[in-house]
């Protein structure tokens, strides 16, 4: 087994880049939508054979065992080449959860199935009454004999209609004094009569999000991860890496690249006002990347990231939105047109970018929630 961490950063980057460039299917580069598993299965098989499905997992569980520095390089190269992340909820969320809090039996059973994508996972956190206020969740799981019986509803469950399993936060003690208590982490199969999935159509007509209804759905007691009623603390512990990931400059950088080629093709740079606004957006992204680098360096030095990492997400998602708004402006009379707009030999789907940017300030903890967090945890403001 290769010790990737022993390589120099440059060597490792070359290795990763080489593999992606040689092996990643051209037609899957920079996919504009989240694929169903069937669409990317041929790529997953290659990745699995290479042993690269789970870059962050320890090698003993079948991962690459990358340290933070190497992991960032891996993701940077993935984004650079437009490699789809695949159906990676199992890899990113459930796997680390089980590795950290699971029993030996849970590790032995679930981890190989995640790597092979025999099981495909979705994440059941949000509920209609528990979005920004996640701890307000009401979906209940009551113990009956050897099983949990689940009743309630999850929402914004990404790709639930193409998942075999769901990992979820459920209320196991409705009488706990604080609502953050009495929440547990549960795994459950989707293919059972008590589970119903409905896709949600977004305002751009996409159907990546779902509602999941539980009507006496069942899962064995063995599928409780960690201690009963301790799910909230575990969920928070999982967020560390997620928080820098969601603040990465890549989405904004890609959009900026698209904006630039589109604007150039359409002659929008002839307009000094447009140039000024482009320059502002480009500098916003460039300086964000500098700040991102500061946090990435912290990770590389093995330090834990504090709450201030949230600022990356605030800044970059709002940049991303402004960039896509400039794309619409550059499109002029075509600014309301759906689908790719041709300029020279480039196709840019202006509205797709605009729509993609919209929810980024809402999901992953809305930017308002992030500002609340920074205000209290970083600036130490009262109340």
């Amino acid at each position: 087994m290769t010790d990737w961490n022993a390589m120099s950063d440059a060597e490792f980057r070359k290795e990763v880049r080489g593999f992606f460039e040689a092996e990643y299917p051209e037609e899957l580069r920079h996919l504009p939508h989240r694929p169903k598993f069937a669409e990317i299965e041929h790529w997953h098989v290659k990745l699995h054979a290479k042993g690269w499905v789970a870059p962050a997992w320890p090698a003993e569980f079948g991962g690459m065992g990358l340290n933070a520095a190497k992991l960032l390089i891996f993701y940077e190269e993935q984004q650079r080449w437009g490699v789809n992340r695949g159906r990676d909820m199992g890899i990113q969320m459930v796997g680390p959860l089980i590795i950290k809090f699971g029993t030996q039996e849970q590790k032995d059973y679930w981890l190989p199935r995640i790597l092979s994508c025999e099981d495909i996972w979705c994440q059941g956190y949000s509920e209609p009454g528990a979005g920004s206020d996640l701890a307000n969740l009401r979906t209940r799981a009551d113990i009956e004999g050897d099983e949990f019986v689940i009743n309630g509803q999850k929402i914004w469950t990404t790709m639930a209609h193409d998942a075999t399993h769901i990992f979820m936060l459920v209320r196991t003690d409705p009488d706990a004094p604080k609502k953050q208590q009495g929440i547990s982490f549960l795994l459950a199969p989707m293919d059972q009569p008590g589970v119903e999935v409905r896709t949600i159509t977004t305002l751009s007509g996409e159907t990546e999000f779902c509602e999941v209804f539980f009507d006496n759905a069942r899962t064995p007691k063995a599928n409780l991860v960690g201690e009963l009623n301790k799910g909230w603390t575990m969920a928070k512990a999982l967020l560390s890496f997620e928080r820098i990931f969601i603040g990465s400059p890549s989405l904004a950088q890609n959009a900026l690249g698209q904006l630039e080629s589109f604007a150039r093709g359409r002659g929008a740079f002839d307009d000094p006002v447009f140039r000024d606004r482009f320059a502002q957006a480009a500098l916003d992204v460039e300086d964000h990347a500098a700040l991102y680098g500061r946090f990435a360096d912290q990770l590389k030095r093995g330090e834990t990231l504090g709450a201030d990492v949230s600022m990356l997400k605030i800044w970059v998602t709002e940049c991303f939105q402004r960039i896509t708004e400039l794309m619409i402006e550059a499109a002029g009379p075509d600014g309301g047109t759906i689908g790719p707009l041709q300029v020279g030999n480039v196709n840019v789907d202006v509205l797709a970018s605009f729509y993609k940017a919209r929810p980024t300030t809402i999901y992953g903890g809305s930017n308002e929630i992030q500002r609340n967090i920074l205000s209290k945890a970083v600036l130490g403001l009262p109340g």
Binding site: W156, I200, G332, P333, G336, T337
Partner: protein, 359 residues
């Protein structure tokens, strides 16, 4: 009066719910509604009474356009009042099409812009000779469903306005799907037979004036749209609870709502004033400047209000289930049509400079 009757008419027909159904069907409009609007006098609002209209003026047209915007109705009210009747009443007020347009028995789309090699607007090259059109036209709003096209073309005698029937030979229509479910048309003519309605410099003048009218009316439509989008959002933040209280009780949400409210009030006042001033102004350049003022303001307000409304709705705002997304999408289309805010700020400033220099 006008406002109340237009609002009642639209609300009785189903309000924005009707618009959603039409979008889900085929993105077209409702012929019955066209007739009802005609009966209410909507299309003839700016047409002189002698020509069968109400003879009221652009400000009255703006009142109607605001109501169209409030329910995001897909019917081509601004296209008809501003563009097709805007051209005909200036160039050939006695043509039979006038009565049909006012009466809602026909719809004509207007085609004058052309697309250049880089995809953007370009010099017009479409030709009219021997009763036939050759060339192409882009960004034709209302093209799908129109019974015919008013086309501005070049001819040996200078600019001409001609009428081509939708089913004329040698005419092809390419549809470009829009965010609000409508389609914009790109027209190609290869020897398409067309009737000449007017020619000479008057055509360019009438076109400029009709485009000013339509621009100002589109601004009014955006004002109505913004107004309703804000109402929907205000209702939502009063009822949606997080952390055991309505999100509208959080100060940050409150102040953002106030900013949107102020923006819609400023937009409404500014756009209405601009339209009223256009009614008492004959100089086409000043009218164009006023139209630019209106559209620059309306687009800016509508963009901000609809986008922030999505954010204030949170995740549900991003779903098709909630109406607010329909308003965002319609605002995208209306903002792009006839020039966005940046474009109109430029037009406004240039017009102002020109007036200053002329003084």
């Amino acid at each position: 009066m006008l406002r109340e009757s237009a609002r009642t008419l639209f609300e009785r027909a189903g309000g924005s719910g009707r618009s959603r159904k039409l979008r889900d069907a085929d993105g077209g409009w409702d012929a019955d509604m066209i007739r009802e609007l005609a009966e209410a006098g909507v299309f003839g609002v700016t047409v002189p009474e002698d020509n069968g209209g109400l003879g009221m003026g652009l400000a009255a047209g703006g009142v109607i356009a605001e109501e169209v915007g409030r329910v995001i109705a897909p019917e081509p009210v601004v296209v008809t009042v501003g563009l097709s009747l805007g051209l005909l009443r200036r160039l050939c007020p006695d043509h039979a099409k006038m009565e049909q347009l006012v009466g809602g028995t026909t719809v004509l789309a207007v085609a004058w812009q052309e697309r250049g090699p880089n995809g953007g607007p370009a010099e017009a090259t479409c030709r009219y000779a021997d009763g036939k059109l050759t060339g192409s036209k882009a960004w034709v709003v209302g093209a799908v469903g129109a019974d015919g096209f008013l086309v501005v073309a070049d001819s040996d005698a200078g600019p001409v306005l001609v009428l081509a029937e939708a089913k004329a030979s040698g005419l092809s229509l390419e549809k470009s799907p829009q965010a609000d479910g409508s389609a914009m048309g790109e027209l190609s003519f290869s020897g398409t037979p067309a009737e000449q309605l007017a020619d000479g410099a008057a055509v360019q003048d009438a076109l400029a004036d009709a485009v000013s009218d339509a621009t100002a009316l589109a601004a009014a439509e955006l004002v109505g749209l913004s107004d309703r989008a804000f109402e929907i959002t205000l209702d939502y933040i009063k009822t949606r609870e997080q952390f055991d209280k309505p999100i509208g009780s959080f100060q940050v949400i409150q102040h953002r709502a106030v900013d949107l409210h102020v923006m819609r009030e400023v937009a409404q006042a500014g756009v209405r004033e601009a339209l009223a001033q256009m009614d008492s102004e004959a100089d086409p350049k000043i009218r164009a400047r006023l139209a630019s003022r209106a559209k620059a303001r309306a687009v800016r307000a509508a963009k901000k209000i609809t986008r922030d409304s999505i954010q204030l709705h949170g995740a549900v705002g991003y779903t098709d289930e909630f109406d607010i997304g329909l308003y965002l999408n319609r605002a995208l289309v209306l903002s792009a049509w006839l020039g966005d805010d940046a474009y109109h700020r430029r037009m406004w400033f240039d017009a102002r400079e020109e007036e200053g220099a002329a003084q």
